[in-house]
Amino acid sequence: MIATIFSPLSETFIQKALLGGSLVAIVCGVVGCLVVVRRMAFLGDALSHAMIAGVGAGYLFMKLVFGKEAHAPAMLLGSLIAAGITVGMIAFVSRVSRLKEDTVIGIMYCGVFAAGVVLVSVFRDHIHIDIVHFIMGDVLGVTDTDLWVAGIVGAAVLTVLTLFFRAFQFSSFDPVAARAAGIPVALVDITLTLCVSLVVVSAVSMVGVILVVGLLITPAATAYLLCDRLDRMMGLAALFGVTSVAGGLALAMALDSAGGGAIMCFCTAQFLAVLALAPRYGLLAGWRRRRNMIPQQLFEDILGSVLRGKPPVAAAVVASHVHLHRGRLARAIATMKSDGLLLESQEGLSLTDEGLLHARRLQRAHRLWETYLARVGVPEKELHEKAHVLEHVHEEEAVDYIDDLLGHPERDPHGADIPEDFVHVEGGAPVPASFLREGRRATVVSAPAATGLAVGQRIAMAPRRNEGRTWVAKREDGSEALLDHAAADAVMVQPDSESGLRPAVRPAK
């Protein structure tokens, strides 16, 4: 049984196909990663299409001048020259004409390819090149020469990429900084182009002109969906290349199809499967994330109702605040528990430190929005409802802006305390003195002379005066510095950290 499955493996042409295909696929995968992150897939296309002209010209030259048949090094060199000319023409035409680069690429590589086809067919008496072989490749007819070429090219390219990995990574990621750091970016680019050319040339004889680009970029793109590091992406791309070749050959055997086509079909199917299933960047993962996502709003309402209800709060109480289907509420609470926001005991739900932090941020946003709405003239009975919608706009920057605009108010229109800006005050960095609430202690970091505060001075905030418009900073000797809003904004202080968050002092009416 097993013997019948593996019997094709004993055939020499299959062994060679597997070996040669894997060699090519590994190098293609690794180089392809740089092609993908550099967004230069077109280069592979241009190169492979230019090849037939190059091979034809190389063949003809050696035949006519030296009388040698199918001289491999000359054909290789010819391909590289043809590729160089194609790439150069693309760059030149897109610079001097108003055509965009993608159009120019299409024109050039079709043109060069066509010229190659004409060349080979006109000189068909001298050149014995099978155009069909070129287009379709012939992985099942791999010769020993092909194997040697693939092996040598592969070893050379992999050695260069491994030794200079850091240079390739840095210059493809941030060429300006790489150059500043002393990496010869232009040389690295030329080397990369040369590596891509070599790899493409060695792969064409196996999978053909049309499919070589696929072998270059598909395994790399598959790996890209799974990796956050270039080195791992390269390893995985090599692996995907090999599985494509093995799977593709098996497919070709089973269906009795062309080898190159089967390899690319398998490779593409593999990509689609990973695209669907990849744990982080896959479609299914994205879809599940969206489905499992409790609407932010709901989750914030639950936090708010637990905070307001003096925890622990029974789940039934939360349910009466948050109008929601029981099952969904239970799921929301379960998610929030596993996210470390809520704790559940027999008495009911309470907040973790993290949950309290979130809840206080929301409360701060809500009360600031209420104050803002009152300031812009929204009638009192609409305040809560409108603020309830707006509190979900709680991006730090937006809330800070509102806070500053309102002169850092301490109470909302209902007389409830607006939580202090603990995100910044407890953030560890200096803050403007205007952020400080009564009782906070701090050290002055910088202050305009006119404020009467000096760098290094210790201060404690006393209650504000003048309806909250004058800040009072008490120095250690008991004297006071009075600051208006602008001055309090201009004085930077390093607040003493008060462990944890301060509980709400005064609940809303």
Binding site: V37, P175, V176, A177, A178, R179, A180, A181, D228, V431
Partner: protein, 255 residues
């Protein structure tokens, strides 16, 4: 390398750079002393990024010279570190926070060896200075705007370069991070480094920098903020957009 205190860290003479018929920089000359924190201000498209890239030797000069500590810029490899503009970075690039910071060391690691313990220590320290030590293994796309800027700052610090060039490091960054980054810049200056920072916020420019470069294709001013933030100069450069700094007349600069 001996650095004479009187040789400017960066000396640009009669620099002209163009991307076509219209020059992006026209006859720009400036000498920046070592150990200063310099802000580059000017409206969009005024050539700020181009000036930075010219100092890095990355754009072709039509005319003019750039000298780094008296030497032609081509010979100053590794003495300059660069923090790119946010929009110029591929945030999907498969690279982690730690690797980006390590790139700062790449210029010093010989190609045949891997990063040494010393390199790793320096990278760790640099990440700690910008408070990104907890995010080492994160892919850079999965950070907030402020965190992303801090990673690139860490890379520049890890490089240990004498001169740091930063292109709009405060764009898309919250106020707290801006203050933290600024603190890091000031520390670097105290350590004798020279910093050139493209800055978009006129309102905070004066209080942030020792010297300002006011640029719009040409050099409109270089000097202490009080000399450069001059109403006539700003009017000339910002034309109709005077409203932006109408506030500056009063000294109650925000934040």
């Amino acid at each position: 390398m001996i650095t004479d205190a009187r040789v400017p860290a960066i000396q640009v003479d009669n620099l002209t750079v163009s991307y076509g018929p219209r020059p992006a920089l026209l006859d720009v000359s400036v000498a920046i002393e070592a150990g200063t924190l310099v802000g580059v201000i000017g409206p969009n498209g005024s050539g700020k990024s181009t000036l930075i890239k010219a100092i890095l030797g990355f754009v072709k000069r039509d005319f003019g010279t750039v000298k780094i500590f008296g030497e032609p810029v081509e010979e100053a490899r590794g003495r300059l570190a660069y923090v790119p503009q946010r929009g110029a970075v591929d945030w999907d690039y498969p690279v982690t926070v730690e690797e980006v910071a390590m790139m700062g060391r790449y210029g010093r690691i010989p190609w045949w060896s891997s990063p040494s313990a010393e390199d790793r220590r320096i990278v760790g320290e640099s990440l700690d200075i910008v408070r990104m030590g907890d995010f080492r293994k994160r892919q850079i796309g999965q950070l907030s705007g402020g965190q992303q800027q801090r990673v690139f700052m860490a890379r520049a610090l890890a490089q240990g370069a004498d001169i740091l060039l930063l292109d709009e490091p405060f764009a898309g960054v919250d106020a707290a991070t801006e203050r933290a980054l600024l603190e890091v810049l000031r520390q670097a200056r105290s350590a004798g480094r020279t910093l050139v920072v493209v800055h978009h916020d006129l309102a905070t420019a004066a209080e942030t920098f020792d010297r300002l470069i006011l640029l719009k294709q040409r050099m409109y001013g270089y000097g202490p903020p009080e000399a450069v933030m001059h109403e006539d100069l700003l009017t000339a450069v910002y034309e109709g957009r005077l409203r932006i700094f109408g506030k500056l007349a009063q000294p109650e600069a925000k934040r």
